[in-house]
């Protein structure tokens, strides 16, 4: 599948109807989502035939794209039932019969959660932690690393790059910044009156194969 073709499909994925600002509900644009997924698949072979997880899947644009690129199965996780309902409709619309959804709070996962290293790849666009939920970006990352046995792909504010690099060293994983992107968040929340402010965002890849046999990151920050 060509990149343009993938982007074309992702333009047809429905987005949030009434985005909840406190949950940082803005979608990954089809353009960015297609580039992320395409890179994951063609440069790293991390999608086709893999078990892929999407944390904070929202309406599921990353999950649907991963199904389109031939993941064996993709499981999306989100806290919000309204978003999951839209994701579920998108799933039917795209006939992605290997796409499953689970409602859960990434910050309050059962202590005995059994997803440890069960996934090959995690892809996500987590909340940045700017809406009274400071630190949630790192909580998403930590859980993702605990769940994946190969790699995690995520988006983080470029401003936090050095901090995340330090955390990666602490957790014993290898971090690469694959691309620096621009997000136009004001345009995502249509009701915002503010003028457009671009935010610099890093597209990162974390290689977690080294933590697969070890314990992975512990629960302390």
């Amino acid at each position: 599948m060509r990149l343009k073709e993938l982007e074309g499909y992702l333009q047809q994925v429905d987005g949030f109807e009434n985005p909840k600002v406190d949950l940082e509900q803005y979608p990954t644009t089809p353009h960015i989502a297609a580039h992320m997924l395409y890179t994951m698949d063609t440069s790293f072979g991390d999608i086709e035939g893999k078990l892929v997880g999407d944390l904070g899947c929202g309406c599921g644009v990353l999950s649907i794209g991963s199904c389109i690129l031939g993941s064996a199965m993709t499981i999306g996780f989100d806290i919000d039932s309204d978003a999951l309902e839209i994701a579920s409709r998108n799933c039917v619309e795209f006939e992605s019969d290997n796409f499953e959804l689970v409602q859960c709070d990434v910050q309050h996962i059962l202590p005995c959660h059994k997803w440890k290293k069960k996934f090959d790849t995690i892809v996500m666009n987590p909340p940045f932690g700017t809406k009274n939920n400071k630190g949630i970006d790192l909580e998403f990352l930590q859980l993702a690393i605990a769940m994946a046995n190969t790699s995690v792909y995520s988006l983080h504010k470029t401003a936090t790059r050095e901090h995340i690099k330090k955390k990666a060293i602490e957790w014993g994983v290898k971090l690469d910044v694959l691309a620096e992107l621009r997000f136009d968040l004001a345009a995502s929340y249509k009701f915002h009156k503010r003028k457009t402010v671009d935010i610099a965002v890093d597209f990162i890849r974390i290689d977690c194969s080294a933590t697969s046999s070890a314990h992975g990151p512990s629960n302390s920050h």
Binding site: E100, C104, K114, K118
Partner: protein
């Protein structure tokens, strides 16, 4: 689906649908060590299962094709139930569990 996938629970099933999904023997073989015992799966993993197409097809069916629309997942250790609505398991914790 998910608890089955991760092998920690038994379901209380009240509404099941079956969708046909493409059979990918390589993926199913990789999943077998990850899934625990669960309702509907063959009780024992047979030796050399990678080459047993019939066995892999059974697991494929249970893992990917059988979808619980309404029901619940039960944690075998604590008895805690997680409801499934419209095929989506709700694993949110209650206030007192957080």
């Amino acid at each position: 689906m998910d608890l089955k996938l991760v092998g920690s629970g038994e379901e209380e099933v009240s509404n099941v649908v079956v969708n046909e999904v493409d059979f990918n023997p390589e993926f199913i073989s990789r999943m077998i060590p990850k899934v625990g015992r669960s309702e509907g799966l063959p009780a024992e993993v047979i030796p050399d299962y990678e080459n047993d197409e019939e066995f892999l097809k059974k697991v494929h069916h249970v893992l990917l094709e059988v979808q619980v629309e309404e029901g619940s997942l039960v944690c075998p250790e604590t008895g805690r139930k997680f409801p499934i609505k419209n095929g989506i398991p709700n694993m949110l914790l209650n206030e007192d569990e957080v």
